[in-house]
Protein backbone atom coordinates (compact mmCIF):
# COMPACT_ATOMS: atom_id res chain seq x y z
CA UNK A 1 0.00 0.00 0.00
CA UNK A 2 1.47 3.32 -1.08
CA UNK A 3 1.84 6.08 1.46
CA UNK A 4 -1.28 8.02 2.50
CA UNK A 5 -0.40 11.69 1.94
CA UNK A 6 -3.59 13.30 3.20
CA UNK A 7 -2.82 16.04 5.73
CA UNK A 8 -4.71 19.00 7.16
CA UNK A 9 -3.67 22.15 5.25
CA UNK A 10 -2.19 23.97 8.29
CA UNK A 11 0.01 20.94 9.02
CA UNK A 12 1.20 20.70 5.43
CA UNK A 13 2.10 24.41 5.31
CA UNK A 14 3.88 24.15 8.69
CA UNK A 15 5.92 21.17 7.55
CA UNK A 16 6.72 22.14 3.96
CA UNK A 17 6.80 25.97 3.64
CA UNK A 18 9.61 27.81 5.43
CA UNK A 19 10.64 31.44 5.81
CA UNK A 20 12.81 32.50 2.87
CA UNK A 21 11.50 29.78 0.52
CA UNK A 22 10.72 30.37 -3.12
CA UNK A 23 7.14 29.24 -3.66
CA UNK A 24 5.06 28.86 -6.80
CA UNK A 25 1.28 29.03 -6.44
CA UNK A 26 0.03 28.37 -9.96
CA UNK A 27 -3.31 28.13 -11.74
CA UNK A 28 -4.14 30.38 -14.71
CA UNK A 29 -7.25 32.25 -13.49
CA UNK A 30 -8.69 28.77 -12.84
CA UNK A 31 -7.87 26.74 -9.66
CA UNK A 32 -5.83 29.43 -7.92
CA UNK A 33 -4.76 28.00 -4.53
CA UNK A 34 -6.15 30.85 -2.40
CA UNK A 35 -6.79 28.71 0.70
CA UNK A 36 -3.13 27.67 0.80
CA UNK A 37 -1.98 31.28 0.31
CA UNK A 38 -4.23 32.38 3.15
CA UNK A 39 -2.80 29.68 5.43
CA UNK A 40 0.72 30.94 4.64
CA UNK A 41 -0.46 34.41 5.69
CA UNK A 42 -1.97 33.00 8.93
CA UNK A 43 1.29 31.27 9.78
CA UNK A 44 3.18 34.52 9.16
CA UNK A 45 5.80 33.26 6.71
CA UNK A 46 8.35 35.92 5.79
CA UNK A 47 10.93 36.58 3.08
CA UNK A 48 9.25 34.45 0.42
CA UNK A 49 10.05 34.61 -3.29
CA UNK A 50 6.60 34.40 -4.85
CA UNK A 51 6.43 32.84 -8.34
CA UNK A 52 3.26 33.09 -10.43
CA UNK A 53 2.69 33.90 -14.09
CA UNK A 54 -0.23 36.21 -13.30
CA UNK A 55 0.09 37.33 -9.67
CA UNK A 56 -3.66 37.94 -9.33
CA UNK A 57 -5.37 39.01 -6.11
CA UNK A 58 -3.44 36.27 -4.30
CA UNK A 59 -0.19 38.22 -4.75
CA UNK A 60 -1.82 41.44 -3.55
CA UNK A 61 -2.99 39.60 -0.41
CA UNK A 62 0.32 37.88 0.35
CA UNK A 63 2.36 41.01 -0.40
CA UNK A 64 -0.03 43.10 1.70
CA UNK A 65 0.44 40.61 4.54
CA UNK A 66 4.21 41.10 4.39
CA UNK A 67 5.05 37.50 3.37
CA UNK A 68 6.86 38.36 0.13
CA UNK A 69 10.23 40.04 -0.58
CA UNK A 70 10.59 39.05 -4.21
CA UNK A 71 8.10 38.57 -7.05
CA UNK A 72 8.80 36.40 -10.12
CA UNK A 73 6.08 36.88 -12.71
CA UNK A 74 5.00 37.93 -16.19
CA UNK A 75 1.98 40.12 -15.44
CA UNK A 76 1.20 42.77 -12.84
CA UNK A 77 -2.56 43.20 -12.99
CA UNK A 78 -5.68 41.21 -12.36
CA UNK A 79 -6.80 40.24 -15.85
CA UNK A 80 -9.69 42.39 -16.96
CA UNK A 81 -10.53 43.25 -13.33
CA UNK A 82 -7.88 45.93 -12.88
CA UNK A 83 -4.75 47.00 -11.07
CA UNK A 84 -3.09 45.29 -8.11
CA UNK A 85 -2.50 48.19 -5.73
CA UNK A 86 -0.38 46.41 -3.11
CA UNK A 87 2.10 45.60 -5.88
CA UNK A 88 1.88 49.12 -7.28
CA UNK A 89 2.43 50.73 -3.86
CA UNK A 90 5.56 48.63 -3.34
CA UNK A 91 6.93 49.39 -6.82
CA UNK A 92 5.86 53.01 -7.35
CA UNK A 93 6.19 54.36 -3.80
CA UNK A 94 8.34 51.72 -2.04
CA UNK A 95 5.49 51.69 0.49
CA UNK A 96 6.18 50.20 2.99
CA UNK A 97 9.35 48.84 1.31
CA UNK A 98 10.62 48.16 -2.21
CA UNK A 99 9.72 44.82 -3.79
CA UNK A 100 12.33 42.93 -5.77
CA UNK A 101 10.97 41.88 -9.16
CA UNK A 102 12.08 39.35 -11.78
CA UNK A 103 10.00 40.22 -14.82
CA UNK A 104 9.40 37.91 -17.79
CA UNK A 105 6.77 37.31 -20.48
CA UNK A 106 4.22 34.50 -20.23
CA UNK A 107 6.06 32.20 -22.61
CA UNK A 108 9.31 32.71 -20.70
CA UNK A 109 7.62 31.69 -17.44
CA UNK A 110 6.17 28.62 -19.18
CA UNK A 111 9.61 27.69 -20.48
CA UNK A 112 11.27 28.37 -17.11
CA UNK A 113 8.95 25.88 -15.39
CA UNK A 114 9.49 23.40 -18.23
CA UNK A 115 13.29 23.78 -17.95
CA UNK A 116 13.00 23.49 -14.18
CA UNK A 117 10.90 20.33 -14.40
CA UNK A 118 13.32 18.86 -16.96
CA UNK A 119 16.43 19.95 -14.97
CA UNK A 120 17.82 21.85 -17.98
CA UNK A 121 20.43 24.60 -17.45
CA UNK A 122 18.60 27.06 -19.74
CA UNK A 123 16.10 27.14 -22.58
CA UNK A 124 15.88 29.32 -25.71
CA UNK A 125 12.91 31.50 -26.62
CA UNK A 126 12.06 33.29 -29.86
CA UNK A 127 10.90 36.44 -28.02
CA UNK A 128 12.87 39.55 -26.91
CA UNK A 129 14.79 40.65 -30.04
CA UNK A 130 14.64 44.45 -29.64
CA UNK A 131 12.77 44.33 -26.32
CA UNK A 132 13.79 46.25 -23.19
CA UNK A 133 12.99 43.22 -20.99
CA UNK A 134 16.55 41.75 -21.22
CA UNK A 135 17.88 45.19 -20.14
CA UNK A 136 16.00 45.10 -16.85
CA UNK A 137 16.33 41.36 -16.28
CA UNK A 138 19.96 40.16 -16.33
CA UNK A 139 18.76 36.55 -16.32
CA UNK A 140 17.40 36.89 -19.85
CA UNK A 141 20.66 36.24 -21.69
CA UNK A 142 21.95 35.86 -25.21
CA UNK A 143 23.74 32.76 -26.54
CA UNK A 144 25.18 32.02 -29.96
CA UNK A 145 23.23 29.46 -31.93
CA UNK A 146 25.48 26.38 -31.69
CA UNK A 147 23.88 24.86 -34.81
CA UNK A 148 23.73 27.80 -37.19
CA UNK A 149 23.69 31.54 -37.65
CA UNK A 150 22.76 34.19 -35.16
CA UNK A 151 21.92 34.24 -31.50
CA UNK A 152 18.98 33.41 -29.26
CA UNK A 153 17.74 34.68 -25.94
CA UNK A 154 17.64 32.08 -23.20
CA UNK A 155 15.95 31.98 -19.81
CA UNK A 156 16.98 30.01 -16.72
CA UNK A 157 15.07 27.11 -15.14
CA UNK A 158 12.65 27.96 -12.36
CA UNK A 159 12.93 25.47 -9.50
CA UNK A 160 10.78 26.63 -6.59
CA UNK A 161 11.41 25.18 -3.15
CA UNK A 162 7.66 24.55 -2.96
CA UNK A 163 4.87 24.43 -5.53
CA UNK A 164 1.25 24.55 -4.42
CA UNK A 165 -1.68 23.89 -6.75
CA UNK A 166 -5.40 23.36 -6.29
CA UNK A 167 -7.32 20.64 -8.14
CA UNK A 168 -10.75 19.06 -8.48
CA UNK A 169 -9.79 15.73 -6.92
CA UNK A 170 -7.06 13.31 -5.90
CA UNK A 171 -6.78 9.89 -4.33
CA UNK A 172 -5.15 9.47 -0.92
CA UNK A 173 -1.78 8.64 -2.51
CA UNK A 174 -1.73 11.97 -4.36
CA UNK A 175 -2.72 11.13 -7.91
CA UNK A 176 -4.23 14.47 -8.90
CA UNK A 177 -6.92 14.92 -11.55
CA UNK A 178 -7.50 18.30 -13.18
CA UNK A 179 -9.81 19.36 -15.99
CA UNK A 180 -10.70 22.67 -17.56
CA UNK A 181 -7.85 25.14 -18.01
CA UNK A 182 -4.79 23.16 -16.93
CA UNK A 183 -2.32 26.03 -17.18
CA UNK A 184 1.24 25.36 -16.08
CA UNK A 185 0.47 23.19 -13.03
CA UNK A 186 2.15 20.00 -14.23
CA UNK A 187 5.43 21.78 -15.06
CA UNK A 188 5.38 23.84 -11.84
CA UNK A 189 4.88 20.69 -9.77
CA UNK A 190 7.73 18.77 -11.39
CA UNK A 191 10.00 21.82 -11.12
CA UNK A 192 9.63 22.03 -7.33
CA UNK A 193 11.50 20.40 -4.46
CA UNK A 194 8.31 19.95 -2.37
CA UNK A 195 4.68 19.84 -3.54
CA UNK A 196 1.39 20.50 -1.79
CA UNK A 197 -1.90 19.89 -3.59
CA UNK A 198 -5.19 21.14 -2.18
CA UNK A 199 -8.30 19.47 -3.62
CA UNK A 200 -12.04 19.88 -3.58
CA UNK A 201 -12.43 16.19 -2.69
CA UNK A 202 -10.62 12.93 -2.10
CA UNK A 203 -11.93 10.10 -4.26
CA UNK A 204 -11.44 6.34 -4.31
CA UNK A 205 -8.59 4.86 -6.32
CA UNK A 206 -11.16 3.34 -8.70
CA UNK A 207 -12.45 6.78 -9.66
CA UNK A 208 -8.95 7.97 -10.57
CA UNK A 209 -8.12 4.74 -12.35
CA UNK A 210 -11.32 4.88 -14.42
CA UNK A 211 -9.77 7.82 -16.30
CA UNK A 212 -5.96 7.84 -16.06
CA UNK A 213 -5.51 10.49 -18.77
CA UNK A 214 -7.18 12.93 -16.39
CA UNK A 215 -4.34 12.48 -13.87
CA UNK A 216 -2.14 15.48 -14.66
CA UNK A 217 0.02 15.00 -11.58
CA UNK A 218 1.02 11.45 -10.57
CA UNK A 219 1.40 10.59 -6.90
CA UNK A 220 5.21 10.31 -7.04
CA UNK A 221 5.44 14.08 -7.55
CA UNK A 222 3.28 14.99 -4.52
CA UNK A 223 4.22 15.33 -0.83
CA UNK A 224 0.91 16.35 0.73
CA UNK A 225 -2.75 16.28 -0.28
CA UNK A 226 -5.10 18.57 1.65
CA UNK A 227 -8.87 18.49 1.35
CA UNK A 228 -10.08 22.07 1.10
CA UNK A 229 -13.56 22.44 -0.40
CA UNK A 230 -13.97 25.82 -2.10
CA UNK A 231 -10.22 26.17 -1.70
CA UNK A 232 -9.90 28.30 -4.83
CA UNK A 233 -12.37 31.04 -3.83
CA UNK A 234 -12.54 33.76 -5.15
CA UNK A 235 -11.20 32.01 -8.27
CA UNK A 236 -13.09 29.02 -9.63
CA UNK A 237 -13.12 25.26 -10.11
CA UNK A 238 -14.41 23.91 -13.42
CA UNK A 239 -17.56 21.89 -12.78
CA UNK A 240 -17.87 22.93 -9.10
CA UNK A 241 -18.19 26.67 -8.67
CA UNK A 242 -17.85 29.85 -10.70
CA UNK A 243 -15.37 32.66 -10.25
CA UNK A 244 -16.58 35.23 -7.71
CA UNK A 245 -16.56 38.04 -10.25
CA UNK A 246 -18.14 40.46 -7.77
CA UNK A 247 -15.19 39.85 -5.44
CA UNK A 248 -12.70 40.35 -8.28
CA UNK A 249 -14.37 43.62 -9.29
CA UNK A 250 -14.49 44.80 -5.68
CA UNK A 251 -10.83 44.11 -4.82
CA UNK A 252 -9.02 46.70 -6.98
CA UNK A 253 -11.53 49.40 -6.02
CA UNK A 254 -11.09 48.79 -2.30
CA UNK A 255 -7.39 47.85 -2.29
CA UNK A 256 -6.49 51.36 -3.46
CA UNK A 257 -6.73 52.09 0.26
CA UNK A 258 -3.93 50.23 1.99
CA UNK A 259 -5.65 50.38 5.39
CA UNK A 260 -8.60 48.53 3.86
CA UNK A 261 -6.32 45.68 2.75
CA UNK A 262 -5.08 45.23 6.32
CA UNK A 263 -8.65 45.29 7.65
CA UNK A 264 -9.70 42.72 5.05
CA UNK A 265 -6.78 40.45 5.96
CA UNK A 266 -7.59 40.81 9.69
CA UNK A 267 -11.26 39.99 9.22
CA UNK A 268 -11.06 37.21 6.66
CA UNK A 269 -7.62 35.64 6.99
CA UNK A 270 -5.60 36.51 10.10
CA UNK A 271 -8.75 36.56 12.22
CA UNK A 272 -9.95 33.14 11.05
CA UNK A 273 -8.62 29.75 12.14
CA UNK A 274 -8.91 28.00 8.80
CA UNK A 275 -10.54 28.04 5.37
CA UNK A 276 -13.92 26.98 6.72
CA UNK A 277 -14.00 30.05 8.96
CA UNK A 278 -12.80 32.17 6.03
CA UNK A 279 -15.76 30.95 3.97
CA UNK A 280 -18.10 31.78 6.84
CA UNK A 281 -16.83 35.38 6.82
CA UNK A 282 -17.51 35.61 3.08
CA UNK A 283 -21.00 34.26 3.66
CA UNK A 284 -23.31 31.75 2.01
CA UNK A 285 -25.23 34.61 0.44
CA UNK A 286 -22.19 35.40 -1.71
CA UNK A 287 -21.01 31.80 -2.15
CA UNK A 288 -24.24 29.95 -2.97
CA UNK A 289 -24.92 31.66 -6.32
CA UNK A 290 -21.47 30.54 -7.52
CA UNK A 291 -22.55 26.90 -7.70
CA UNK A 292 -22.72 25.68 -11.30
CA UNK A 293 -25.15 23.33 -13.03
CA UNK A 294 -23.81 19.94 -14.19
CA UNK A 295 -22.50 19.44 -17.71
CA UNK A 296 -20.72 16.07 -17.58
CA UNK A 297 -18.43 14.73 -20.27
CA UNK A 298 -19.24 11.57 -22.19
CA UNK A 299 -17.31 8.73 -20.58
CA UNK A 300 -14.47 7.39 -22.72
CA UNK A 301 -13.86 3.67 -23.08
CA UNK A 302 -10.36 2.50 -22.15
CA UNK A 303 -11.28 -1.08 -22.99
CA UNK A 304 -9.99 -4.32 -21.53
CA UNK A 305 -8.67 -7.47 -23.12
CA UNK A 306 -11.47 -9.77 -24.27
CA UNK A 307 -12.06 -12.56 -21.74
CA UNK A 308 -11.05 -15.98 -23.08
CA UNK A 309 -13.91 -17.57 -25.02
CA UNK A 310 -15.74 -14.33 -25.79
CA UNK A 311 -17.27 -14.66 -29.22
CA UNK A 312 -16.28 -12.93 -32.45
CA UNK A 313 -19.80 -11.46 -32.47
CA UNK A 314 -19.05 -8.95 -29.73
CA UNK A 315 -15.68 -8.15 -31.33
CA UNK A 316 -17.64 -7.37 -34.47
CA UNK A 317 -19.96 -5.10 -32.53
CA UNK A 318 -16.99 -3.05 -31.32
CA UNK A 319 -15.62 -2.73 -34.79
CA UNK A 320 -18.87 -1.27 -36.09
CA UNK A 321 -19.07 1.16 -33.21
CA UNK A 322 -22.30 -0.22 -31.75
CA UNK A 323 -20.82 -0.37 -28.26
CA UNK A 324 -19.81 3.25 -28.38
CA UNK A 325 -23.21 4.51 -29.49
CA UNK A 326 -24.94 2.37 -26.87
CA UNK A 327 -22.75 3.97 -24.22
CA UNK A 328 -23.73 7.38 -25.51
CA UNK A 329 -27.41 6.55 -25.22
CA UNK A 330 -26.86 5.40 -21.65
CA UNK A 331 -25.05 8.61 -20.82
CA UNK A 332 -28.12 10.65 -21.65
CA UNK A 333 -26.10 13.84 -21.92
CA UNK A 334 -25.68 13.93 -25.65
CA UNK A 335 -26.71 17.27 -27.09
Amino acid sequence: MAKDKVLPLPEAIRALVHDGDSIALEGFSHLIPFAAGHEIIRQGRRGLTFCRMTPDLLADMMIGAGCVDRLVCSFFASGSAGALYEIRRRLEDHDPAPLEVEEYSHHAMVLRYHAGASRLPFIPIRSYAGSDLPKINPDIRLVDNPYGEGSAYVVPPLNPDVTIVHAQRADRKGNVQIWGITGIQQEAVYAAERVIVTVEEIVDDEVVRSDPNRTLIPAHAVDAVCVVPRGAHPSYVQGSYDRDNAFYRMWPKKAKDKAWVQEWLDTHVRGTADHEEYLATIGEEQLAPLTVAPRPSQPVDYGRRMPAGAGAASAGARATGETASAANDDGGTQR
Binding site: F28, H106, P124, D132
Partner: protein
Protein backbone atom coordinates in the same frame (compact mmCIF):
# COMPACT_ATOMS: atom_id res chain seq x y z
CA UNK B 1 -22.29 54.70 -46.98
CA UNK B 2 -19.58 52.06 -46.99
CA UNK B 3 -19.74 48.72 -45.24
CA UNK B 4 -22.62 47.26 -47.26
CA UNK B 5 -22.70 43.50 -47.10
CA UNK B 6 -23.93 41.56 -50.12
CA UNK B 7 -27.32 39.95 -49.75
CA UNK B 8 -28.34 41.97 -46.76
CA UNK B 9 -31.48 44.04 -46.71
CA UNK B 10 -30.87 47.69 -47.47
CA UNK B 11 -32.45 48.67 -44.17
CA UNK B 12 -30.03 46.55 -42.13
CA UNK B 13 -27.03 47.98 -43.98
CA UNK B 14 -28.11 51.57 -43.32
CA UNK B 15 -25.92 53.49 -40.89
CA UNK B 16 -26.96 53.12 -37.26
CA UNK B 17 -28.12 56.51 -35.98
CA UNK B 18 -26.83 56.21 -32.43
CA UNK B 19 -23.63 54.14 -32.47
CA UNK B 20 -21.00 54.67 -29.76
CA UNK B 21 -17.26 55.17 -30.22
CA UNK B 22 -16.70 51.64 -28.87
CA UNK B 23 -19.07 50.23 -31.49
CA UNK B 24 -17.29 52.18 -34.23
CA UNK B 25 -13.91 50.78 -33.11
CA UNK B 26 -15.21 47.22 -32.84
CA UNK B 27 -16.84 47.37 -36.29
CA UNK B 28 -13.67 48.80 -37.83
CA UNK B 29 -11.61 46.00 -36.25
CA UNK B 30 -14.09 43.34 -37.41
CA UNK B 31 -13.80 44.50 -41.04
CA UNK B 32 -10.02 44.13 -40.86
CA UNK B 33 -10.51 40.45 -39.94
CA UNK B 34 -11.97 39.46 -43.31
CA UNK B 35 -9.83 36.64 -44.69
CA UNK B 36 -7.93 35.90 -41.46
CA UNK B 37 -8.19 32.43 -39.97
CA UNK B 38 -6.67 32.18 -36.49
CA UNK B 39 -6.86 35.09 -34.08
CA UNK B 40 -5.22 35.18 -30.66
CA UNK B 41 -7.07 37.62 -28.45
CA UNK B 42 -7.54 38.82 -24.96
CA UNK B 43 -10.97 39.53 -23.62
CA UNK B 44 -12.81 42.78 -24.27
CA UNK B 45 -13.10 44.69 -27.52
CA UNK B 46 -11.00 42.20 -29.56
CA UNK B 47 -13.37 39.39 -28.58
CA UNK B 48 -16.35 41.48 -29.67
CA UNK B 49 -14.61 42.24 -32.98
CA UNK B 50 -13.86 38.57 -33.65
CA UNK B 51 -17.40 37.55 -32.74
CA UNK B 52 -18.84 40.23 -35.03
CA UNK B 53 -16.51 39.26 -37.88
CA UNK B 54 -17.55 35.63 -37.41
CA UNK B 55 -21.24 36.56 -37.76
CA UNK B 56 -20.94 39.05 -40.61
CA UNK B 57 -18.10 38.27 -42.98
CA UNK B 58 -15.88 35.38 -41.94
CA UNK B 59 -17.51 32.13 -40.78
CA UNK B 60 -14.13 30.38 -40.75
CA UNK B 61 -12.39 32.63 -38.26
CA UNK B 62 -11.06 30.80 -35.18
CA UNK B 63 -10.45 32.54 -31.88
CA UNK B 64 -7.71 31.23 -29.63
CA UNK B 65 -7.69 32.39 -26.01
CA UNK B 66 -4.52 32.90 -24.00
CA UNK B 67 -5.93 30.49 -21.40
CA UNK B 68 -5.54 27.62 -23.89
CA UNK B 69 -9.12 27.38 -25.15
CA UNK B 70 -9.72 26.98 -28.89
CA UNK B 71 -13.06 26.62 -30.62
CA UNK B 72 -15.02 28.05 -27.68
CA UNK B 73 -18.82 27.87 -27.87
CA UNK B 74 -19.83 29.79 -24.74
CA UNK B 75 -23.48 29.62 -23.77
CA UNK B 76 -23.12 33.04 -22.20
CA UNK B 77 -20.83 36.04 -22.66
CA UNK B 78 -17.46 35.29 -21.06
CA UNK B 79 -16.14 37.51 -18.32
CA UNK B 80 -12.38 37.12 -18.72
CA UNK B 81 -10.17 34.93 -20.93
CA UNK B 82 -10.44 32.02 -18.49
CA UNK B 83 -14.18 32.10 -17.77
CA UNK B 84 -15.44 28.54 -17.31
CA UNK B 85 -18.16 29.09 -19.93
CA UNK B 86 -15.37 29.23 -22.53
CA UNK B 87 -14.24 25.75 -21.51
CA UNK B 88 -17.66 24.04 -21.25
CA UNK B 89 -18.49 22.90 -24.76
CA UNK B 90 -15.21 24.09 -26.28
CA UNK B 91 -13.55 22.11 -29.05
CA UNK B 92 -10.20 22.00 -27.26
CA UNK B 93 -8.30 23.12 -24.18
CA UNK B 94 -4.51 22.85 -24.34
CA UNK B 95 -1.80 23.41 -21.73
CA UNK B 96 0.11 26.69 -21.52
CA UNK B 97 3.17 24.86 -22.84
CA UNK B 98 1.24 23.76 -25.94
CA UNK B 99 -0.41 27.15 -26.34
CA UNK B 100 2.67 29.36 -26.15
CA UNK B 101 5.10 26.77 -27.52
CA UNK B 102 3.31 24.95 -30.31
CA UNK B 103 0.32 27.12 -31.19
CA UNK B 104 1.94 30.58 -30.94
CA UNK B 105 5.71 30.11 -31.27
CA UNK B 106 5.01 27.25 -33.69
CA UNK B 107 3.63 29.86 -36.07
CA UNK B 108 -0.08 28.96 -36.06
CA UNK B 109 -1.50 32.39 -35.21
CA UNK B 110 -2.42 34.75 -38.08
CA UNK B 111 -3.48 37.78 -36.05
CA UNK B 112 -2.67 38.74 -32.48
CA UNK B 113 -4.77 41.45 -30.85
CA UNK B 114 -2.99 43.68 -28.34
CA UNK B 115 -3.68 46.77 -26.32
CA UNK B 116 -1.01 49.23 -25.20
CA UNK B 117 -0.39 52.30 -23.08
CA UNK B 118 2.08 53.61 -25.65
CA UNK B 119 2.88 52.87 -29.30
CA UNK B 120 5.67 54.27 -31.46
CA UNK B 121 5.86 55.03 -35.19
CA UNK B 122 6.98 51.48 -36.07
CA UNK B 123 4.44 49.77 -33.83
CA UNK B 124 6.59 48.88 -30.84
CA UNK B 125 4.39 48.71 -27.74
CA UNK B 126 4.81 49.67 -24.11
CA UNK B 127 2.64 47.86 -21.58
CA UNK B 128 5.22 47.85 -18.75
CA UNK B 129 5.81 51.22 -17.10
CA UNK B 130 5.31 54.96 -17.42
CA UNK B 131 8.53 56.54 -16.23
CA UNK B 132 11.59 54.58 -15.18
CA UNK B 133 11.35 50.78 -14.69
CA UNK B 134 13.32 50.91 -11.42
CA UNK B 135 10.93 53.43 -9.86
CA UNK B 136 7.95 53.82 -12.20
CA UNK B 137 5.45 56.65 -12.10
CA UNK B 138 2.84 54.09 -13.11
CA UNK B 139 3.40 50.36 -13.00
CA UNK B 140 1.43 48.89 -15.94
CA UNK B 141 0.47 45.19 -16.36
CA UNK B 142 3.71 44.19 -18.12
CA UNK B 143 4.11 41.79 -21.02
CA UNK B 144 1.84 38.93 -20.15
CA UNK B 145 1.86 37.17 -23.50
CA UNK B 146 2.16 40.42 -25.49
CA UNK B 147 5.86 40.30 -26.37
CA UNK B 148 5.53 36.61 -27.31
CA UNK B 149 2.55 37.45 -29.54
CA UNK B 150 4.45 40.33 -31.19
CA UNK B 151 7.41 38.06 -31.96
CA UNK B 152 5.37 35.17 -33.32
CA UNK B 153 1.95 36.15 -34.72
CA UNK B 154 1.67 36.73 -38.46
CA UNK B 155 0.54 40.29 -37.78
CA UNK B 156 -0.71 42.31 -34.83
CA UNK B 157 -3.82 44.51 -34.52
CA UNK B 158 -3.77 47.15 -31.81
CA UNK B 159 -6.78 48.82 -30.24
CA UNK B 160 -5.76 51.85 -28.21
CA UNK B 161 -8.30 53.90 -26.29
CA UNK B 162 -6.41 57.23 -26.24
CA UNK B 163 -4.84 59.18 -29.05
CA UNK B 164 -2.55 61.91 -27.71
CA UNK B 165 1.15 62.64 -27.29
CA UNK B 166 1.31 60.56 -24.11
CA UNK B 167 0.12 57.40 -25.84
CA UNK B 168 1.68 58.14 -29.27
CA UNK B 169 5.12 59.46 -28.16
CA UNK B 170 8.24 59.96 -30.28
CA UNK B 171 9.98 57.52 -27.94
CA UNK B 172 8.48 54.85 -25.68
CA UNK B 173 9.21 54.85 -21.94
CA UNK B 174 9.81 51.10 -22.25
CA UNK B 175 9.78 48.68 -25.20
CA UNK B 176 7.78 45.68 -24.01
CA UNK B 177 6.83 44.28 -27.42
CA UNK B 178 9.29 45.31 -30.13
CA UNK B 179 8.47 45.99 -33.78
CA UNK B 180 10.50 44.18 -36.48
CA UNK B 181 12.30 47.53 -36.91
CA UNK B 182 13.41 47.51 -33.25
CA UNK B 183 14.30 43.81 -33.50
CA UNK B 184 16.47 44.41 -36.57
CA UNK B 185 18.15 47.44 -34.99
CA UNK B 186 19.15 45.38 -31.94
CA UNK B 187 20.79 42.74 -34.13
CA UNK B 188 20.39 40.23 -31.32
CA UNK B 189 18.14 37.28 -30.66
CA UNK B 190 15.88 35.48 -33.11
CA UNK B 191 14.16 37.81 -35.62
CA UNK B 192 10.36 37.99 -35.30
CA UNK B 193 8.32 35.60 -37.45
CA UNK B 194 5.69 38.07 -38.56
CA UNK B 195 4.93 41.56 -39.76
CA UNK B 196 4.55 43.23 -36.37
CA UNK B 197 1.74 45.75 -36.02
CA UNK B 198 -0.30 46.09 -39.21
CA UNK B 199 -3.41 47.91 -37.95
CA UNK B 200 -3.93 50.43 -35.14
CA UNK B 201 -7.45 51.58 -34.31
CA UNK B 202 -7.68 54.68 -32.14
CA UNK B 203 -10.50 56.98 -31.04
CA UNK B 204 -9.57 59.26 -33.98
CA UNK B 205 -8.90 56.92 -36.87
CA UNK B 206 -7.08 53.92 -38.33
CA UNK B 207 -3.30 53.68 -38.88
CA UNK B 208 -1.75 50.91 -40.98
CA UNK B 209 1.73 49.59 -41.78
CA UNK B 210 2.10 48.09 -45.25
CA UNK B 211 5.87 47.57 -45.10
CA UNK B 212 7.30 45.27 -42.42
CA UNK B 213 10.04 47.80 -41.75
CA UNK B 214 7.96 50.89 -42.47
CA UNK B 215 6.09 53.46 -40.40
CA UNK B 216 2.44 53.67 -39.41
CA UNK B 217 0.39 55.61 -41.96
CA UNK B 218 -2.97 57.29 -41.31
CA UNK B 219 -5.45 55.59 -43.67
CA UNK B 220 -8.85 56.40 -42.12
CA UNK B 221 -10.27 59.15 -39.99
CA UNK B 222 -13.43 58.53 -37.99
CA UNK B 223 -16.52 60.56 -38.97
CA UNK B 224 -16.09 64.18 -37.86
CA UNK B 225 -12.32 63.89 -37.32
CA UNK B 226 -9.87 65.80 -39.55
CA UNK B 227 -6.43 64.69 -40.70
CA UNK B 228 -4.87 67.68 -38.93
CA UNK B 229 -6.52 66.67 -35.66
CA UNK B 230 -4.86 63.24 -35.88
CA UNK B 231 -1.48 64.76 -36.83
CA UNK B 232 -1.67 67.15 -33.87
CA UNK B 233 -2.53 64.34 -31.48
CA UNK B 234 0.45 62.23 -32.56
CA UNK B 235 3.88 62.70 -30.98
CA UNK B 236 5.81 62.31 -34.22
CA UNK B 237 5.42 63.58 -37.79
CA UNK B 238 2.69 61.12 -38.76
CA UNK B 239 2.68 59.87 -42.35
CA UNK B 240 -0.63 60.35 -44.16
CA UNK B 241 -2.01 58.12 -46.93
CA UNK B 242 -2.56 59.68 -50.34
CA UNK B 243 -6.28 59.13 -50.04
CA UNK B 244 -7.46 59.14 -46.44
CA UNK B 245 -10.85 57.48 -46.17
CA UNK B 246 -13.62 57.96 -43.67
CA UNK B 247 -14.01 54.97 -41.34
CA UNK B 248 -17.13 53.01 -42.23
CA UNK B 249 -19.85 53.77 -39.71
CA UNK B 250 -21.54 50.82 -37.98
CA UNK B 251 -24.66 49.60 -39.74
CA UNK B 252 -28.00 48.97 -38.05
CA UNK B 253 -27.37 45.24 -38.37
CA UNK B 254 -23.87 45.42 -36.84
CA UNK B 255 -25.12 47.46 -33.90
CA UNK B 256 -28.05 45.09 -33.44
CA UNK B 257 -25.72 42.07 -33.37
CA UNK B 258 -23.38 43.74 -30.89
CA UNK B 259 -26.12 44.86 -28.52
CA UNK B 260 -28.75 42.13 -28.83
CA UNK B 261 -26.67 39.01 -29.49
CA UNK B 262 -22.99 39.50 -28.62
CA UNK B 263 -22.70 41.74 -25.57
CA UNK B 264 -26.24 41.57 -24.22
CA UNK B 265 -25.11 42.37 -20.67
CA UNK B 266 -23.11 45.45 -21.78
CA UNK B 267 -19.89 44.13 -20.32
CA UNK B 268 -17.68 45.88 -22.87
CA UNK B 269 -20.02 48.10 -24.90
CA UNK B 270 -20.16 51.48 -23.29
Amino acid sequence: MTGTIDGQAAAASATAPDYSQTELIVCAAAKMLAGKSTVFAGIGLPTLAVDLAHRTLNRDIELIYESGVTGAHPEEMAEGIADFVLVSGAESVVSMQALFGYVLQGGNVDVGFLGAAQIDRHGSLNTSVIGDWERPTVRLPGSGGASDIMSNAGEVFVIIRRHDHASFPAELDFVTSPSPVAARASGEGIPPQGHGVSVVITPLGVLQREDRFGELVLTHTHPGVTVDQVKDATGWDLKIADHVQSTAEPTLEEVRLLRDEIDTVRLYLR
